[in-house]
Each structure stands twice: as structure tokens, then as C-alpha cells.
């Protein structure tokens, strides 16, 4: 089944501080949607509202609705929402107490996969997709945090895709990666797109242009423009979008 998201008049704040305001957008199934915008404009907050992580921050509030295939996620079990909507964080956050293997297997075990050979299969497959397998195949039992920053990020990507979510939220997944790994992750995104819906936050305009079908430009908590990627990059409607993508600001 194809799974899409709809965001309706989404607002978010931390205490008194309004961070997002009246965001409405449709995240089409099996498409890659990129979110761009200057640092601090609310990109992370936006995607954290999509899997209900925003509400776990003390003092954080939210208004408006997020619909997952027409169903309001605030009415669903958060555990179910997050199993369906996976996430890769801006900063790598492997589980400190677990080995590389267990990091990837953590989500699977929870979903009832117990048989060792099945776990092995999934772990290898996910690590291969995360472009990490070759580097760690011979030390799967080493702690996840013994990897380099970029390797940790790929480990987190593997961990997120191992449970086969229907939607994947990626918060600047490539910011700590070299061009080669970045290329591999972009290939992965194209591959994953066949089976799932992706939202990617990125600071890299070329990346957004390369991988995404739709792009949203966020500025100071408002969605300035949301359009098909080629259109947004070649023919932006808003002056501010144009200034941003041509590098004249921000």
C-alpha cells in the first residue's frame, strides 16, 4: 500500500516560542519530499511533528493536524505511528550499550523477529543498504559508538530502514558524510523510494535538486513555497525562495 502524509495548518512551539506557523503541505506516497531553509528555521521541528517526537519535549506544544493516509496521527497510538514512520536524526545517535549488530537488530527484535538467521539476514541487508556493510562486516560485535561519526550516521540509517517503515524522515542524513557515502545514500534514497515515502531535510541545494520530487522552502517557521522540485529551483514564485536558492541570503 502507498502511504502518504498530509500536513494541515501545523503550528509548533517550545514554551512561549512559536517555531512553526500554519504549515500545510501534502507529502505524496512514494515520492521524495525535500525541506530546505536556513539554519534555525524549523526544519527539524517540522519533521519531528510528523512522527510525534515533538510532543515528547517538555514544554513543547503543537496545533493543526498531521494525517497519515487520512488518519489523524494524534488519535493513533504513538508507538504505531513511529513504527510506520521511521526517522534518521540530524546527529547520529546509536544506542551506547549495544553492538553494531544489536543497534540494527533492536527494532526488529521488538517487532517479534527472534530467529537468529532471520535477524542476520535483515541486519546484513540493512547495513548493505546503508552503505556500511563492507566496513563493519568483520566487527559486528563491536560497540556502535566505536564507529566514526559518518559511520555512526550510516548505522543509524540502517537501523531505521531495518524495521521497514512506510515513511522515512531523514534530518540532514548526509551532513557528516564524504561525497562517496553521500552518493551511496542518495542511491539508497532512489532505491527506497520504490517502496516508501521519504521526507529529507537538507542544507545541500544540489542534493535536494538531485533526489527530490517536491521541495518545500521554510523560512522563520513558515512554508514560503512548496512545489515540484524542478519548478521550485528553476522558476520560484517567491522572491525569498529565489534569493535563498541563488545563495543571495541565509
Amino acid at each position: 500500500m502507498l502511504t502518504g502524509l498530509a500536513v494541515e495548518k501545523l503550528g509548533a512551539c517550545f514554551g512561549q516560542k512559536q517555531v512553526l506557523n500554519g504549515i500545510s503541505m501534502t507529502i505524496g506516497p512514494n515520492l521524495v519530499t525535500a525541506i530546505i531553509g536556513p539554519s534555525g528555521c524549523g526544519k527539524s521541528t517540522l519533521i519531528r511533528c510528523l512522527n510525534r517526537l515533538h510532543e515528547t519535549v517538555p514544554g513543547a506544544r503543537q496545533s493543526g493536524r498531521v494525517l497519515l493516509d487520512g488518519q489523524d496521527i494524534s488519535q493513533m497510538d504513538p508507538v504505531q505511528v513511529r513504527r510506520t514512520i521511521g526517522m534518521v536524526f540530524q546527529k547520529p545517535n546509536p544506542f551506547p550499550s549495544m553492538s553494531i549488530y544489536d543497534n540494527v537488530a533492536a527494532g526488529l527484535r521488538l517487532n517479534g523477529v527472534r530467529k537468529r538467521h532471520r535477524l542476520d539476514e535483515y541486519v546484513e541487508k540493512s547495513l548493505r543498504m546503508g552503505a556500511l556493510w563492507e566496513e563493519v562486516a568483520d566487527r559486528l560485535d563491536k560497540p556502535g559508538i566505536s564507529l566514526s561519526g559518518g559511520q555512526q550516521q550510516r548505522l543509524c540509517i540502517a537501523r531505521a530502514i531495518a524495521i521497514e517503515p512506510k515513511v522515512l524522515l531523514m534530518d540532514e542524513p548526509c551532513s557528516a558524510l564524504d561525497p562517496v557515502s553521500t552518493g551511496k545514500i542518495e542511491e539508497l534514497i532512489q532505491e527506497l523510494k520504490k517502496a516508501l515515502t521519504i521526507v529529507i531535510v537538507t542544507h545541500n541545494m544540489q542534493q535536494a535538486a538531485r533526489v527530490s520530487d517536491y521541495t518545500g522552502f521554510l523560512l522563520l517557521g513558515e512554508l514560503i513555497e512548496f512545489d515540484e522540485t524542478p519548478k521550485l529551483f528553476t522558476n520560484p514564485r517567491d522572491k525569498r525562495t529565489e534569493d535563498y536558492i541563488t545563495g543571495r541570503f541565509g
Binding site: 515528547t56 505511528v81 513511529r82 551506547p96 524495521i163
Partner: protein, 283 residues
């Protein structure tokens, strides 16, 4: 001018370093003196008999404190049965859900308990365990020591669970893992080394407690067979022997003191080893 300032800074640096060194020395000297004296007095009294023999009746020379050594271990075990579940669960609760009135209250109570003299806790154990059972027992002693452990364990657990970064909790939640499971399977294991340290420190602390045992576990010159009967322990045995008029008992009291301190020292070293092995997991 810049060169002058640099020299000045260097001189201040040397001075402050020297001062810090002096302070360190002053703190260590009493400890070394105690250890030295203990070693001098205890070493000549410790022998194989001390670890294998029961105490001899008054007047007979020789014998050992085998039963007291085992007794102390049993009492610590019982104390852990009482103190660890309450302390660890309480600590986890405070770290994860303690930002409210209940949390404040628990923290406050735990601090009060921490400041309560151990003899008062002994009296409490006497009232709720010894009196109803109508006899001194290992159970009563373990109960008293367990209560003494609780605040230390609670605080250590809370502090260390809190140190686990939010991003790790979020990673677990984002995988669709229920919160209780994230806490038990991901957050607590990440803080394991620290929690073990806290537990070992608490064990080291109760290992030397004497006052609350005097009227709970009482003491025993023989092997204890049952937990609902009085049990010997090193601190109480040392106390009894030290205030006795017999030369040979004084000798054995020194030996007991040395063995007790050695046991506590080993626990502390163990603490260090555990922390070291898992240091990097906290980063």
C-alpha cells in the same frame, strides 16, 4: 609586556599547582596513617586460622572469625535484596518521571534518610522486625542495612540515568519502541556502569556499619544456620573484641579490622575497574 604577563601567569600557575598538591597530601596523610597502623597491628594477627576457625571461648587463645566473615557477606546479600530493587527502581523513576511534586517528595525523603544516623535506622528495624519476631536475626540486620543503602543507590541511579542523552531516548522512541521498554532496554543499560558503581559504593558503606547491627543481627559465636537467628558480622565482632579485657581478643580485633578494610578496599577497586571498562559508553 606580553612576555611579562606570560611569566606572571606561569608563576601563578606553579603556585596554585603547589597549593593543590599540598591539599591533596593533607587529605591523604590521615588515610595513610590509619592504613599503616592497621597494617602494622593487623598483619601479625591475621593467619589462616582467622579465616577458617570459629571464635574460641573466653580464656582460650587462637581461633578466628570465619563465621563473622561469612555473616557479613550474608548480611550484605540480604541488604541488597531489600535495598537494590527499591533504590534502582526509585532512581529510574526519579530520573525519568521525577519532574513533579512526587519526585520532589521522594528526593527529599531520600535525602532525609541519607542523613539519618544509622543507629536510628537500627532502632526502626528493631521495632518492625525484631520485636514482632521476638528474636534478633540476620533478616533484621539485612533489613536495617538495606534501608541504609537505599538513598545512595537512588541518587547514583538517578544521576547516571539522567546523564544518558535525550537523543538516545529519542532514537528508541523513533523506532516505535514503547517508552517503558526504551527505559529498561536502552537507557538503563547505557547507564549500567554508573549504577554498578553506585551499588558498590553503597555496599562498601554498609559493610562497615556496626551500630544498627548491635540490636538487629546481634552477633553469634557459632555458625549461623538460619536467617531468622542471630548472625555474626565483622564490625560487631570487632566491636565486642576491642572493648573486651583480653589481650588475644584485641589482637583478633585488629585482624578483623584489617580484613574488613581490605574487603571494602577491594570493593572500591572493583568499582574503579567496572567504571573504567565501560567509560567510553557514556561518551
Amino acid at each position: 609586556m606580553t612576555f611579562d604577563r606570560y611569566r606572571r601567569r606561569k608563576r601563578v600557575n606553579v603556585l596554585v599547582s603547589a597549593l593543590a598538591f599540598l591539599c591533596a597530601a593533607i587529605t591523604i596523610i590521615p588515610l595513610l596513617m590509619i592504613l599503616g597502623h592497621l597494617l602494622a597491628q593487623g598483619a601479625k594477627a591475621v593467619n589462616l586460622d582467622f579465616f577458617t576457625q570459629l571464635p574460641k571461648p573466653v580464656g582460650e587463645v587462637g581461633g578466628g572469625m570465619a563465621n563473622a566473615i561469612v555473616g557479613t557477606l550474608i548480611l550484605i546479600g540480604l541488604a541488597c535484596l531489600v535495598g537494590l530493587p527499591i533504590g534502582i527502581i526509585g532512581g529510574i523513576y526519579l530520573a525519568e518521571f521525577g519532574n513533579n511534586k512526587t519526585g520532589w517528595l521522594v528526593r527529599f525523603m531520600s535525602d532525609v534518610l541519607n542523613g539519618t544516623p544509622s543507629i536510628v535506622i537500627g532502632i526502626f528495624a528493631y521495632t518492625v522486625v525484631v520485636l514482632p519476631m521476638k528474636r534478633f536475626s540476620a533478616l533484621a540486620g539485612g533489613f536495617a542495612l538495606g534501608i541504609i543503602m537505599i538513598p545512595t543507590v537512588i541518587r547514583a541511579t538517578e544521576e547516571l540515568v539522567k546523564l544518558v542523552p535525550t537523543s538516545v531516548r529519542e532514537a528508541g522512541l523513533a523506532l516505535g519502541i514503547p517508552q517503558w521498554r526504551v527505559i529498561l532496554r536502552i537507557v538503563v543499560p547505557s547507564a549500567k556502569a554508573g549504577i554498578v558503581t553506585g551499588v558498590l559504593l553503597a555496599v562498601a558503606r554498609i559493610g562497615g556499619e556496626t551500630a544498627p547491627l548491635l540490636f538487629t543481627a546481634f552477633g553469634n559465636q557459632f555458625w549461623q544456620r538460619r536467617l531468622d537467628q542471630p548472625i555474626a558480622s565483622l564490625p560487631v565482632q570487632i566491636f565486642t573484641y576491642a572493648i573486651s579485657p583480653f589481650e588475644d581478643w584485641h589482637r583478633q580485633a585488629w585482624a578483623g579490622a584489617l580484613v574488613l578494610v581490605a574487603m571494602i578496599l577491594i570493593t572500591s577497586v572493583l568499582t574503579r575497574v567496572v567504571t573504567k571498562g565501560q567509560d567510553r559508553s557514556m561518551r
